[in-house]
């Protein structure tokens, strides 16, 4: 008599494909997953608790460490929340700089996703090609902000530095280069039959599920929901640019891939236009009191980060520290659907699905 039994498999917290310290406890029957329980919190640093004792400017470096692949959007969301509360007008030049760095950051973040996703699926080279271009972006951002990942670049009311000499030109030159290389990625990966077989019809969910599970970003757009906060609830100066929101219909890993790759192109479009429209002079800081004290009350703003909707809630009592600061962290919300998707899949698909959701553990755990 052959007796089979279910096996408990602990994937993570140290595992090459969990992109950080994420743990998922699987019940497997052979290689088929019958149950999956995600366990998070290994990277919880209590940003929100720490923020209760910090002034608003001091919180900004902490936000860098949440979604460390696109720290610029994190910087922006808290600045935007405070600015909304204080009803501030941001100078044009500052807004353009913000949009430039945020969109460059979005491209960089998607490149990391592209590379690591292919690494998860087993191809080694795309990772290095993607990081080649990312390195250029990182260098650009390093030049303007003084750090490669933890930028701490934005301030309430504007940005910390103006663009250094020649920076705009460098960005202008980067766009066509990136377009060329992007075509190369498509050559290398997008038509590859093995890759297509790995991602087609894997981790499919419906539009209704996506909405019910509060998914956002490409995870939502891959089901046919045309939703991008840059377009639908324009913040900053996004209404001045002409770009599309890539939407795909199928809701599987392949449509998520298509969405993100198309988003790189759209971001490049925005960068291109922002460079064209970039005001030749002007202030980069609004007139801000040095001690920032938003009026008593509360606010919730949300913007589009590469991973989806990043939101910031501030409850203020009119003091220089927030009474309560809460980030809506897109990865945290996006990850919820994972255990639903995994039932009945095999272990190889676990990696494809998890990679396709595009999480950053710093953000999941806050």
């Amino acid at each position: 008599m052959i007796r089979t039994e279910e096996m408990l498999l602990n994937v993570g917290p140290q595992h090459p494909s969990t992109h950080g310290v994420f743990r998922i406890v699987l019940k497997i029957d052979g290689e088929i997953i019958t149950d999956a329980t995600p366990v998070i919190g290994y990277l919880h640093r209590g940003t929100e608790k720490l923020a209760e004792d910090l002034q608003y400017t001091q919180i900004i470096p902490y936000t860098d460490r949440m979604d460390y692949l696109s720290a610029m959007t994190n910087n922006y969301v808290i600045c935007h929340a405070v600015e909304t509360m204080m009803d501030m007008e941001i100078p044009d030049r500052a807004e353009y700089l913000r949009v430039l760095v945020m969109e460059l950051g979005r491209v960089a973040s998607h490149l990391v996703w592209f590379g690591t996703y292919l690494l998860d699926i087993g191809a080694l080279s795309p990772f290095l090609y993607a990081f080649r271009e990312r390195e250029m972006i990182i260098n650009l951002l390093n030049e303007i902000s003084g750090a490669r990942l933890t930028f701490n670049y934005m301030r309430v009311g504007g940005v910390k530095w103006d663009a250094p000499d020649g920076w705009i030109e460098k960005v202008r030159e980067f766009v066509p280069h990136m377009r060329k290389e992007l075509a190369g990625y498509h050559d290398l990966v997008s038509g590859n039959e093995i890759f297509l077989n790995r991602v087609h019809d894997v981790g499919t969910y419906s539009k209704e599920d996506a909405l019910a599970y509060s998914l956002s970003g490409a995870n939502l757009r891959c089901t046919g929901v045309d939703w991008d906060l840059r377009k639908q609830e324009p913040y900053s100066i996004y209404d001045r640019f002409n770009f599309n929101v890539p939407v795909t219909e199928k809701g599987d890993a392949w449509s998520r891939y298509q969405c993100r790759m198309a988003e790189i192109e759209e971001s490049l479009k925005i960068v291109e236009q922002a460079v064209e429209q970039f005001p030749s002079e002007g202030a980069i800081m609004a007139k801000v009191p040095r001690i920032i004290k938003p009026p008593a009350g509360e606010t919730y703003v949300r913007i589009e980060s590469p991973r989806g909707e990043i939101g910031c809630y501030i409850a203020s009592k009119g003091k220089k520290e927030p009474y309560r600061l809460k980030f809506r962290r897109p990865s945290f919300y996006n990850l919820q659907i994972l255990s639903k998707l995994l039932k009945g899949e095999n272990i190889a698909n676990l990696i494809t699905i998890l990679g396709g959701i595009d999480i950053v553990l710093g953000e999941v755990d806050g």
Binding site: T57, Q58, E143, G146, A147, D187, V189, N192, E193
Partner: protein
């Protein structure tokens, strides 16, 4: 098969391309001027206003002042100044608030030490750390 061939062509084409990696640490990495590395401290410029210690988000700066030795002059001069690089996140806020540019950033980013104790930098160390200072801060 066509997709596979395309991919193979792409990698083969890259075989002869110039490499893009840095030869670090054989060649030192050039960081842009704004890069945020280990701080440099000018004790003579410091007016002991405590702003850097107050603004530091991780409370890694400790400083004490003493009375100016010249009794005719008002104000204080710096006595001790310590930065704990175990928790410093190099956010640049201290140099941003400093009214006299007594503390500035350098481009030195090689912070690794064999012992945690060595990450505790005192006034002398920070004073001597005078290479690669940000150009715009060079007095």
């Amino acid at each position: 098969m066509k997709g596979l061939m395309k991919g193979l062509k792409y990698t083969l084409k890259n075989l002869s391309k110039e490499r893009v990696t840095y030869a670090y640490p054989d060649e030192p990495l050039e960081m842009p001027d704004r890069f945020r590395g280990i701080q440099k401290f000018y004790p003579e410029k410091c007016i002991v206003c405590n702003q850097c210690a107050n603004v530091c988000p991780t409370d890694c700066i400790d400083l004490t002042g003493k009375k100016h030795p010249d009794p005719n002059k008002k104000g204080k001069i710096i006595d001790t100044y310590d930065i704990n690089f175990e928790i410093c996140i190099l956010c640049d806020l201290c140099t941003e608030v400093c009214p006299t540019e007594a503390i500035v950033m350098t481009n030195n980013f090689e912070l690794a030490e064999y012992s945690r104790d060595e990450l505790f930098k005192n006034l002398e160390w920070l004073d001597e750390n005078d290479t690669n200072v940000r150009k715009e801060n060079k007095a």
